[in-house]
Subunit: 192 residues, 2 copies
DNA sequence: CTTCTACTGAAACAGTCGTGTCAGTAGGAG
DNA sequence: CTCCTACTGACACGACTGTTTCAGTAGAAG
């Protein structure tokens, strides 16, 4: 039974939500219990009680961010057909200003999990790559899904989106980045 | 006179080099003076003396990494002509195992500078985007360099490389990632 | 009422952090 | 020799870290 919390308790989810909002604007890198507890009207003691230790809290926050991410890309799974359309759709989704904090958090967790493969961040980067490759695969026509060419295509699509995201987070130049991705969409349409 | 170190002093560069090697395998995120000093056979006192404070050391390490990066992409500036060739060349450069620590450090600094725009990391992400866009521009034919289409093209090329890098660092699957980038190279060749 | 569970406050633990203080030592220049 | 510059060791300061201990309190269940 690897399920420590079958029903996460109302108070726990409430505090997690508040801590998540805090993490979205302050980042996860130098998160420490006392400041976050003070900000959300709690105490380090309570966070320890509910999440076990700091790693537990960070893991919970990472999982919470993942829920946001997966919920927001789920429409792709059902409504979009074709890699080009998926890329275009995700790009406009990435470019929205209000998504910036979530995406910054994502980038932080990704980089951190590369440097420190153990601990709370373990496997974040690899699992998010697989998540997205899976989603993109489900947008491809069936004959493309299993071929090596199809795998390369969705790897390319993902790389473009990820790189565009990094550029966007650094420069905020949505126009230039969107133009670049649309170029990619056109290329994908004509080549595949 | 904004030049604090016209001649960085032999001892300083020696310790910086050792600290750089340490940072390459331990990361910058939770770097602290005492461990790094112990590892390189020095003391926190000396690091403070030579670099002013911890931020000074981190800045020096970031600058040192930038030197590595710029030195290794300089061949592009002179010998490569055409965006597709540049992308292909950089991709094989990224895929080399021995570059992994440097690239991990790069990703870490990039993400950190997004979350914490002040301090030692300030401007790292934006300046590295501009560095690379500049290099890629110098690989484009002259008529492409100034057009909006040309800007979008090199933005796309950079995004693909950056995304491929993230994928590579997370999964280590050089074959899949290289195949994807070569697809992009082909697309760039035929479209532009 | 009692009893149990869920949660909480106050304080302290040992440890690490960046930094400062005070005192040196080694080596070249005069 | 003296003097100066570059560098270094030992140690302590205050702040902050995750974590623990002890002692509760509120509310539902019996």
């Amino acid at each position: 039974m690897p399920a420590p919390e079958p029903t996460p308790s109302a108070r726990k989810t409430e505090l997690l939500e508040a801590a998540y909002a805090y993490a979205l604007e302050h980042g996860l890198a130098d998160l420490s219990l006392r400041p976050v507890a003070a900000a959300i009207g709690s105490s380090p003691r309570v966070l320890m009680f509910l999440f076990g230790n700091k790693d537990g809290l960070v893991k919970a926050l990472l999982a919470r961010a993942r829920v946001d991410e997966l919920a927001l890309i789920e429409p792709l799974h059902s409504s979009i057909t074709g890699l080009p359309e998926a890329v275009s759709h995700v790009c406009t989704w990435l470019a929205a200003e209000e998504r910036r904090p979530l995406l910054r958090l994502w980038a932080e967790a990704y980089a951190r999990s590369l440097v420190e493969p153990d601990g709370a961040w373990a496997g974040f980067a690899e699992s998010t790559v697989n998540d997205w490759l899976g989603v993109l695969a489900s947008c491809q026509p069936e004959r493309e899904r299993t071929t090596a060419h199809g795998l390369a295509l969705r790897t390319l699509a993902l790389a473009t989106l990820r790189g565009a995201l990094l550029d966007l987070l650094a420069t905020g130049d949505a126009a230039r980045v969107t133009a670049a991705v649309e170029l990619q969409v056109a290329a994908l349409r004509s080549q595949c």
